[in-house]
């Protein structure tokens, strides 16, 4: 127990409310998780104490007979374990049932996982209102959101620890999960099923915002990309739309319309580059463009070999895509 006590305190006090932590409790399911976790934690720690106390007692006590008493003890022990397990199973089942009870509303998001990035579509009944983005998720606080999960290649797993549990994305199948974010904030999600060489760099940022802000974000997302305003941006625009980039990437409102890589229409409004590999800033953007294989070796974006001037132009243009 000497070993267990301080870290357990840390956990129960919720001292680990990080951006990617289970006890962040920023969603309906994760609040239920936190409740159930504490129930299990208290019960299992109690059982651990009993076992260790029994062991210590057995080691230090003065020896006498008493086999009959021990036999009774075994029966009591079995009864205690059995009843506790029934209790825990019941608690687990109740929590599970509540998690599945989330009401389904109109908002549906479809996420398709690729090696090693996330393709995100906000589905609207009017197809012109459907929004495509990549490697980010914006969610309205207080609204249950149904997320349909698919995979384009291997098995991945969708997981926003602060909001809810995992659900796998499996090729040939369609899974779904209902997430109800409750606390406004920025969280991090990371693929939780080993999916190949860059499994470690397959994350995205989750922004939970008030309903109005979310709707504004959606509307802004439907607008075409920012038009180049300076000559450097113009040079970048020309490169992106006429050279290698547009083969794979889409920038809505421009001739760049590739569909096999992350959508770049509002690229600079995201918080990270390369599915959570780098933070979004000019230095990292230039580093990524110069050699995408440096920070994320094995990913499917090749080294283009941009000349310094091209690198400056493309960075400037991409940075303007708010």
């Amino acid at each position: 127990m000497r070993k267990l006590a301080p870290p357990l305190m840390l956990l129960t006090l919720g001292g680990c409310a990080g951006r990617q932590a289970m006890l962040g409790a920023a969603g309906r399911d994760s609040a239920l998780f936190a409740w159930l976790w504490h129930v299990f934690l208290i019960v299992t720690v109690a059982f651990y104490c009993i076992v260790i106390a029994g062991l210590l007692w057995a080691v230090v006590r003065r020896r006498e007979g008493g086999e009959a008493a021990v036999r009774t003890g075994l029966l009591v022990w079995v009864a205690l374990i059995s009843l506790t397990l029934v209790g825990l199973t019941l608690a687990s089942w109740l929590a599970d049932r509540n998690m599945n009870r989330a009401p389904r509303t109109g908002l549906t998001i479809e996420i398709t996982a690729h090696q090693w990035w996330w393709d995100v579509r906000y589905i609207a009944s009017d197809p012109s209102m459907t929004l495509r983005t990549s490697n980010e998720l914006h969610l309205p606080a207080g609204t249950p959101v149904r997320i349909v999960l698919k995979s384009a290649d291997v098995i991945h797993s969708f997981w926003i620890p602060n909001l809810s549990g995992k659900q796998d994305l499996i090729p040939g199948r369609s899974n779904d999960i209902v997430v109800t974010p409750e606390k406004v904030g920025v969280y991090r999600s990371q693929c939780a099923e080993y999916c190949g060489v860059q499994h470690a760099h397959m994350a995205f940022d989750v922004t939970v915002q008030p309903r109005e802000a979310f709707e504004q974000w959606w509307k802004a997302g439907l607008l075409p990309a920012h038009a180049p305003a300076t000559s450097v941006e113009q040079a970048g625009y020309t490169y992106v739309t006429t050279r290698e980039c547009s083969t794979c990437h889409n920038v809505t409102g421009t001739p760049a319309s590739g569909q096999v890589a992350p959508d770049l229409t509002h690229f600079a409004s995201r918080l990270s580059i390369g599915a959570g590999t780098y933070p979004m800033d000019r230095g990292h953007l230039a580093a990524w463009l110069a050699d995408p294989q440096d920070a994320k070796p094995g990913n499917k974006m090749p080294v283009i070999g941009l000349e310094p001037a091209e690198l400056r132009a493309v960075s400037a243009y991409l940075e303007s895509l708010k």
């Binding site: 870290p7 990080g18 976790w37 299992t44 057995a58 036999r71 075994l74 599970d96 659900q167 060489v197």
Partner: protein, 641 residues
């Protein structure tokens, strides 16, 4: 054999002592020299080889673990490339599970089970030799491939479609799947040998109800192997066939199913955990009894717990798949079944503690490992209860919390008892005791290093760190915890080094042990240390669960087995009533040659399916030679008056 009096063809009151020994040495010995060494069918020689090989693989996989800990000691470390890291974690898991944990338990069993049940050798002793060679070749193939940068990189679980032809081109996954085939053949062979020996070769009077608890554990584990391994055999064969000849078992776009792999894999994979854990509980029971100087409390309860665990193990596999989107209602069954395992395990824990309580414990090194086992394993058992709950598992699954959980179960629950068991049976196998003081040093280092390495991982997992990542970003709250884990792993490794050096030094110059250095109750202590090649001069006969404690004047023996040829006494399955004398095969090189022929076939089939057709010829020839009728070799039955 002509040197001996032909009238004395069986052991008995007239034929005992030195003369009996000389005759049995002739009958049970093997030819000298390299060919003789390679031909042996003696369970003690094979058991030792199995054990040394398994520990060698453990050291290799342990070095990989240290490499991973070095890489993860700090965020965004560039020490190991992602491709290499993915090979390393795949090799670590694969080696530890398939080439260390299961084989090492079989290794100990192969050595001690015939001694514990009082017989001269294992049943099907040539099959036992074959099992070892297949295991060795499979392991060598995997590690040679890794050294040539063709190490598998799809995880020890090789989920499809990542491990399929499209996403894992090249030979890496084929090597992995074929290694599975080798270890399956080896594992199944060893299991059949074990079941036959335990059920039919027990000493007269050793009824099922008097069987030592480790023998019970191995009986159940061997039956589990026979039921569990075919699932993964089928699975890996289907994967190979998808990869080599273009079938589509796991290809969702051709009406295959990616999840089918996981069902079959975990139908084997979960029982596998108990296949590792139950022998360890057998070690704990044996050591607890010996060092508490009384039989384990609640023998029937412990046996029933072993059986219950063995059965429940087959009803849990879906708890590895809670996140795959299977029907939610079905999950409730697997939650309940997974939690139920806590009952038999809790019973066993209670019985061991009660044995310490009721007994007069001697705190020698093996008992320290038992206590370390209880303190550590129970943590893993309790986190297992947490993981059985669907809502908890959906968060905890595939994070470092799970890494912490199963290392508590596998190291705390299986490796601690194993190191205790090695210390315990070391004097039997070598004739010398391991150093007590160095044993305590290694225990302290392994125990401390283990907790320092793996306890923080519970927290790393709770803070959201997923498994199987070659690196992680800074500032997630994971940095310090990972550094602590990495430092702990160095201490843990040092503990293993001390343990192995102690074993090596004691083997050379340890204190001589004598037949029964611990005053233990089991039959294995009734013969010399190390035992003669024939194990027992006269077969012992038993009338209780603790024969050596109850028959202080010397065990009653059974005589009448032939001494001019190899012979076993077969007894009835339940009551162990002597029923028949059965010839035991002589040593031969053919199991090795068969294993070579089949091994070449297996390795060749990684490259072309034609290897299977062509390889049938040498394999068939070797097997024919192996199974050639042997009756002609056995001298005719002597007349009895």
């Amino acid at each position: 054999m002509t040197d001996f009096d032909p009238d004395l063809a069986r052991d008995g009151p007239d034929l005992t002592g030195k003369e009996l020994h000389d005759r049995l040495i002739v009958a049970w010995g093997r030819p000298r020299g390299l060919v003789g060494w390679l031909s042996t069918t003696d369970h003690k020689e094979i058991g030792k080889r199995y054990l040394v090989t398994a520990f060698a693989f453990m050291i290799l996989a342990g070095v990989l673990a240290l490499a991973m800990r070095a890489q993860l000691a700090r965020p965004e470390s560039g020490l190991i490339t992602p491709d290499r890291y993915n090979q390393i974690f795949t090799m670590h898991g694969t080696t530890m599970m398939f080439l260390f944990a299961v084989p090492v338990m079989e290794a100990v069993a192969i050595y001690v089970i015939p001694l514990m049940v009082g017989t001269r050798n294992l049943a099907f002793s040539r099959l036992n030799a074959f099992s070892y060679w297949m295991y060795l070749f499979g392991g060598l193939m995997l590690w040679i491939a890794f050294a040539l940068n063709v190490g598998p990189d799809a995880g020890w679980f090789s989920y499809t479609p990542l491990s399929g032809p499209q996403y894992s081109p090249g030979k890496r996954v084929d090597i992995w799947a074929q290694m599975i085939t080798f270890t399956e053949v080896a594992g199944l062979a060893a299991a059949v040998v074990m079941v036959a020996t335990i059920l039919k070769q027990r000493a007269p009077g050793m009824t099922l109800a008097r069987m030592p608890l480790f023998v019970w554990a191995m009986l159940i584990v061997s039956l589990m192997i026979i039921f569990a391994l075919p699932a993964v055999a089928l699975d890996s064969a289907m994967l190979l066939s998808d990869r080599l000849v273009g079938t589509h078992f796991f290809n969702p776009y051709e009406r295959g199913d990616a999840l089918l792999w996981q069902h079959l894999f975990w139908f084997f994979g979960h029982p596998e955990v108990y296949i590792i854990f139950l022998p360890a509980t057998g070690f704990v029971s044996e050591m607890t009894a010996t060092f508490c100087r009384r039989p384990v409390f609640g023998y029937p309860a412990v046996v029933l717990s072993l059986i219950a665990t063995g059965l429940l193990a087959f009803g849990l596999w879906v708890h590895h798949m809670f996140a795959t989107g299977l029907p939610r209602l079905g999950y409730a069954f697997y939650t309940a079944a997974s939690m139920t395992v806590a009952i038999p395990t809790g019973i066993q824990i209670f019985c061991w503690i009660a044995t310490i309580w009721l007994g007069r414990p001697r705190y020698r090194v093996p008992l320290l490992w038992v206590i370390g086992f209880v303190v550590s394993f129970v943590v893993g058992g309790l986190t297992g209860v947490m993981l059985a709950s669907v809502p908890l598992d959906l968060e905890l699954h595939d994070t470092y919390f799970v890494v912490a959980h199963f290392h508590y179960v596998l190291i705390g629950g299986a490796v601690f008892p194993l190191l205790g068991a090695v210390t315990y049976w070391f004097p039997k196998a070598t004739g010398r005791l391991m150093s007590e003081s160095w044993g305590k040093v290694s225990f302290a280092l392994v125990f401390g290093g283990f907790h320092l390495t793996f306890f923080p991982m519970h927290l790393t997992g709770m803070l959201g760190m997923p498994r199987r990542v070659y690196t992680y970003p800074a500032g997630m709250g994971w940095d310090t915890l990972n550094l602590i884990s990495s430092l702990g792993s160095a201490i843990l490794a040092l503990g293993f080094v001390v343990f192995l050096l102690n074993a090596f030094r004691s083997f050379r110059s340890g204190e001589p042990a004598g037949a029964d250095p611990w005053d233990a109750p089991g039959l294995e202590w009734a013969t010399s240390s190390p035992p003669a090649v024939y194990n027992f001069a006269h077969l012992p006969s038993v009338a209780s669960r603790t024969p050596l404690w109850d028959e202080r004047e010397g065990l009653p023996v059974m005589t009448g087995l032939r001494v001019d040829a190899r012979e076993h006494l077969l007894t009835s399955v339940i009551e162990a009533v002597p029923s028949i004398r059965e010839p035991s095969p002589k040593p031969t090189i053919w199991p090795l040659l068969s294993a070579i022929a089949i091994g070449i076939t297996f390795v060749g089939s990684v490259f072309t399916p034609w290897a299977l057709a062509i390889g049938l010829l040498p394999a068939g020839a070797a097997l024919t030679a192996w199974f050639w009728p042997k009756n002609a070799d056995i001298p005719p039955e002597p007349e009895i008056d």
